[in-house]
């Protein structure tokens, strides 16, 4: 039944939209659509954004691994192209601080009336377009360090539930520490 649903194009587009509406609502309630809250996180003055992300990872990690165990979906980890990930990740990070928003939260910020976020979105369209144009020239570099779609349990050869337990404890401990330190 679920597998049939995956092929229904119009229904899927509508589902994507619905999940997006809920996502945008939550991002705004979390404060993540606000430039000041994101920049204060990057300045390590306010840890609201990391608390949201860590809690979402714990919740997501446990749920997703139960889902792929009992339902049709399978894990879909992205390829670990470590060189482009590190370089692209750092470039992304610089943009993250300058715009004060990321691709998802910039869309959300537009919804809350942030005019400057519209320029951020135009910039992202240009940046993605430039990447598409230079892709031909860096395709080999992208593929060169590709380790494939590896997961942490696979590469460490440890049962995934142990990893999930340890990661959940570490992330929860960091959040507990932040709360105790008054953040």
């Amino acid at each position: 039944m679920l597998k049939e649903l995956y092929n229904k194009k119009r229904k899927q587009l509508f589902l994507g939209f619905l999940i997006g509406v809920a996502f945008g609502f939550l991002l705004d309630r979390g404060g993540a659509t606000d430039f000041n809250i994101i920049v204060n996180q990057l300045l390590l003055r306010d840890f609201r954004v990391l608390k949201i992300i860590f809690t979402a990872i714990i919740t997501g990690m446990i749920g997703v691994h139960i889902i792929v165990r009992y339902l049709p979906p399978e894990l879909q980890p992205k390829p670990c192209q470590w060189k482009p990930i590190i370089i692209g990740g750092l470039i992304f990070g610089v943009g993250f601080a300058v715009l004060g928003l990321c691709p998802g939260t910039a869309a959300g910020a537009m919804g809350t009336g942030a005019i400057h976020a519209i320029f951020g979105v135009i910039g992202m369209l240009l940046g993605a377009g430039i990447f598409a144009s230079v892709y031909t020239y860096i395709e080999d570099f992208m593929a060169e360090s590709d380790l494939g779609p590896v997961t942490i349990p696979e590469s460490l050869e440890i049962n995934k539930w142990w990893i999930i337990l340890v990661f959940s404890i570490i992330l929860a401990a960091i959040m507990f520490f932040l709360e105790s330190a008054g953040f």
């Binding site: 679920l2 649903l5 899927q12 994507g16 939209f17 619905l18 999940i19 809920a22 996502f23 945008g24 609502f25 309630r29 979390g30 404060g31 659509t33 430039f35 000041n36 990057l42 300045l43 609201r48 809690t55 979402a56 990872i57 919740t59 997501g60 990690m61 749920g63 997703v64 339902l71 049709p72 980890p77 992205k78 670990c80 470590w82 590190i86 990740g89 992304f92 990070g93 610089v94 300058v98 691709p103 998802g104 869309a107 009336g113 005019i115 400057h116 320029f119 951020g120 979105v121 910039g123 992202m124 369209l125 240009l126 940046g127 993605a128 377009g129 430039i130 779609p149 590896v150 990661f167």
Partner: protein
């Protein structure tokens, strides 16, 4: 406290909610939530509108066909969802120069718009090079315990924290 009009919710409640949305994306759509490919596809659609069908021949657009897909609708939904949220809470307001930016670079709107454009450009390029953004890598990829996504997530914040400290931190 009225939950509908309360401006900010506990980050833990929001985080659990977003985690559940990751489940729903997997269960009902077999999709991992992500945002940055929508920008690549839109860029392709815009370029195709100007330069015609030959744009589709670019190798990158063969991988990420310029069309409206699930993620594209997700990003559109984010705009609508945050609009609804901010209207209900009363936090909706037109913002041209955010406070921290203003304290650092002054109240020029043009300067902020140029800054936002440059920031966006780096985000768009970096996300496509890294293969995802704070959602695709930072939430969905990390939840799947993907090695590349954890690496990306860490480097997003290394780049972000160091740049923010340099720009706004008075260092």
């Amino acid at each position: 406290m009225n939950i509908i009009s309360s401006d900010l919710w506990s980050p833990y409640v929001v985080g659990i909610g977003i985690g559940i949305l990751i489940w729903l994306g997997f269960i009902f759509s077999n999709k991992a939530i992500g945002c940055s490919t929508a920008y690549a596809r839109t860029s392709g659609m815009a370029e195709r509108a100007v330069r015609g069908k030959k744009v589709e021949e670019k190798p990158y657009y063969k991988k990420f066909v310029p069309e409206i897909d699930w993620e594209w609708m997700l990003v559109l939904g984010i705009v609508v969802g945050s609009l609804i949220s901010s209207l209900l809470s009363g936090s909706f307001r037109l913002e041209t120069v955010p406070l921290i930016w203003q304290n650092t670079f002054g109240s020029s709107q043009i300067l902020r718009f140029i800054g936002a454009l440059i920031g966006g450009l780096l985000l768009g390029f970096g996300a496509r090079m890294a293969g995802g953004c704070t959602s695709g890598h930072g939430l969905s990829g990390t939840s799947q315990l993907s090695v590349g996504s954890w690496l990306a997530f860490i480097f997003f914040f290394i780049g972000g924290i160091s740049t923010a400290l340099l720009l706004y931190g008075g260092i």
